[in-house]
């Protein structure tokens, strides 16, 4: 009789272990990733940079797409936050708050911990994110009206809550500067540069007409400097790229030739890793980094292209291995896969001297890739933010 009870006990233990295994295998927060309960109070403070990876929209067919915010500290160690998928989603930081989002949630991390906000309106195509007057603004190019028209949705809010406002356009290009959202919108016959203040009330003003869209395509965000807008657009028929300089006051525009591609393959390989972070203006020089890691310069005063430099470690034979770039003040940060060491690094370049001034190995991404692999998915790097 005693032996029977021993066997029953053994079977019960085996059953409990099996059920626990199933539970752990299917729970929302996989081991090794952050949750509201496990976010440490110093995560915000120690985070020096954030990367964002996501599945594409077509991998979300069964609502099982996924994304990751990767928090990187000064030693290159990482913490992972697993979220739902959001193609082209972004990450941002302002003050002591980190901003992340997925298709139906916004996450804020500050010294008090992590807060999650459920969003009633789902998004599927991220565009650009900024911060103004105590509010985060995340623009998504993924909305529709009931009559089949397009609208872009802007998620606005802070730790007190978020809401969604609508812009009645598909955005060909966008950019945020000086508290305003700038966008290239319109039907293909006549596109135009427009502006709206980053406020909850949508108030759109046309700045300049840019003619028919033709075969033109934005290669970066819309930049603003010294009362002028700079739009970098390619022409995939002519295999060229030009800079459109638009005067803020008069709307007058000048087109300056900038790049020439040898053929369609060359163009395709040189599409930037992330259009949001492909260019910046610093000390009157417009810097643009292409998909082969070549940094091009354009002097906004003389309107002349200047000699460029090459980011090390990005090879033509294997681009798009999760490379990301980020401009901050006079530096260019490059996140890349280093084939020689089979690891990831963040390089820092001084733009003025074109010298690499730092190389920081990043560890811990293998865990993310294993989680992705387990789900039978693939993720792309979509954003990079350096504080």
């Amino acid at each position: 009789m005693k032996k029977n009870w021993i066997w029953i006990g053994v079977i019960a233990i085996v059953a409990i272990v099996f059920i626990s295994y199933l539970f752990l295998n299917n729970r929302q927060t996989p081991a090794g990733t952050l949750s509201k309960e496990t976010v440490s109070p110093d995560l915000e403070q120690k985070t020096e940079a954030i990367l964002y990876f996501s599945t594409t929209a077509d991998q979300d067919m069964n609502r099982d797409g996924l994304s990751f915010a990767v928090f990187i500290d000064s030693a290159g160690k990482t913490d992972l936050l697993k979220m739902n998928g959001l193609e082209l989603g972004s990450v941002y930081a302002s003050g002591d708050t980190l901003f992340m989002e997925d298709r139906n949630n916004i996450f804020l991390i500050n010294p008090d911990g992590m807060e999650t906000f459920d969003m009633e309106t789902e998004e599927h195509t991220g565009e650009v994110t900024g911060f103004q007057d105590g509010h985060f603004y995340s623009v998504n190019n993924s909305g529709f009206t009931e009559d089949g028209g397009y609208q872009s949705n802007i998620r606005v809010g802070n730790e007190d809550g978020f809401e969604t406002i609508h812009v009645p356009y598909y955005l060909h290009m966008s950019g945020i500067a000086d508290g305003e959202l700038f966008m290239v919108t319109g039907e293909t016959e006549d596109i135009s540069l427009q502006r709206m203040p980053l406020e909850k009330e949508v108030d759109i003003e046309k700045i300049a007409s840019l003619g028919a869209l033709g075969e033109r395509l934005g290669l970066s965000t819309i930049m603003k400097s010294d009362g002028k807008f700079y739009l970098l657009m390619s022409d995939t028929e002519k295999l060229t790229a030009a800079i459109y300089e638009v005067d803020e006051q008069t709307g007058d525009s000048k087109t300056v030739p900038f790049l020439t591609y040898s053929d369609a393959d060359d163009y395709r390989l040189r599409i930037p890793f992330n259009l949001r972070n492909a260019s910046a203006i610093h000390d009157g020089i417009l810097y643009y980094v292409d998909g082969l890691g070549e940094v091009h310069r354009f002097n906004t005063k003389t309107r002349e292209a200047e000699p460029s430099f090459q980011i090390e470690g990005i090879e033509e034979s294997s681009p798009y291995m999760a490379e990301q770039t980020f401009f901050k003040k006079g530096d260019l940060y490059v996140f890349r896969y280093d084939a020689a060491s089979d690891s990831h690094v963040i390089d820092t370049y001084d733009l003025a001297s074109a010298k690499r001034i730092d190389e920081q190995p990043v560890s811990g991404l293998e865990e993310m890739y294993q989680l992705v692999k387990k789900k039978g998915k693939r993720v792309a790097a979509y954003d990079f933010f350096v504080r």
């Binding site: 929209a57 529709f144 869209l213 395509l217 934005g218 395709r268 999760a322 896969y337 692999k373 693939r378």
Partner: protein, 248 residues
């Protein structure tokens, strides 16, 4: 002691036997519904009922044909994954940066009227995904759950092994077909792949239906390689009227 072990074993065997019997009794209709959960059994039954009239086939034959077509997609997905793994092993890509979980590539521009196919990892039925070039730079495609959308070719990322193909037809047909597809932006997504050849061209549609309808209505091209009840992305990819342009 022996009694306890015997009881556990008996319970296990009886349970397994019952499960086995239940599995064999699962009808093709139930399996189709479980493989495309967005379409109800009633909705499917109604469509099959209509098909019995238009095709002269029995309900069972139709369900079986639909099920076989779905299973074929899963088999093709397995073959595709195996081939990609072999290619990755040869190139060395399998060993770097998370192996096959760590790389997506920008699809880039192509000519108006071209389309791309990407293997796309999906559950239930692994059928891949297709998108149409409305212009050289703008892709129009149907994505769950938002429906038909446009996206810049400069930012649309696809799996390794994706292909870009053109369609052998006149430029007028391409222009009209792409304009029609662009006009469908905002239409909701349909999870019905099993019988999307026979549903209306307007309204909700999935990715392959969008391209198939666009060229069926504009040029009377039937971009469905096997002409089964469903037009799947691989059916469009492998249609005889398509021409390979490049592989990603």
């Amino acid at each position: 002691m022996k009694k306890v072990v015997a009881m556990v074993l008996t319970g296990f065997l009886v349970g397994s036997a019952q499960f086995s019997v239940q599995a064999s009794n699962v009808s093709y209709a139930d399996q189709i519904v479980s493989m495309q959960p967005g379409v109800s059994a009633e909705e499917l039954a109604k469509q099959v009922d209509e098909l019995t009239v238009s095709t002269g086939m029995s309900e069972t034959e139709i369900y079986e044909a639909m099920y076989n077509e779905m299973e074929k997609q899963n088999q093709m997905a397995e073959e595709e994954a195996k081939q990609l793994a072999e290619e990755n092993a040869i190139s060395g890509d399998a060993d770097i940066q998370g192996g096959d979980s760590g790389a997506l590539y920008i699809v880039g521009p192509s000519a108006r009227g071209d389309f791309y196919y990407t293997p796309s990892a999906t559950a239930y039925i692994n059928h891949g995904h297709v998108g149409l070039y409305y212009s050289s730079n703008v892709i129009v495609e149907s994505i769950y759950p938002s429906g038909v959308r446009s996206i810049s070719a400069n930012v649309r990322k696809v799996d390794k092994g994706a292909v870009v193909k053109s369609i052998s037809t006149s430029s007028t047909n391409k222009q009209n077909a792409t304009s029609w597809a662009y006009g469908e932006i905002g239409q909701p997504y349909s999870l019905n792949f099993a019988n999307n050849r026979n549903t209306g061209h307007g309204g909700a549609k999935n990715c392959s239906k969008l391209i198939w309808s666009a060229f069926k209505l504009n040029g009377n091209l039937d971009l469905d390689v096997d002409k089964g009840f469903g037009v799947y992305p691989r059916d469009v990819r492998d249609a005889t009227q398509t021409v390979f342009k490049r592989k990603i």
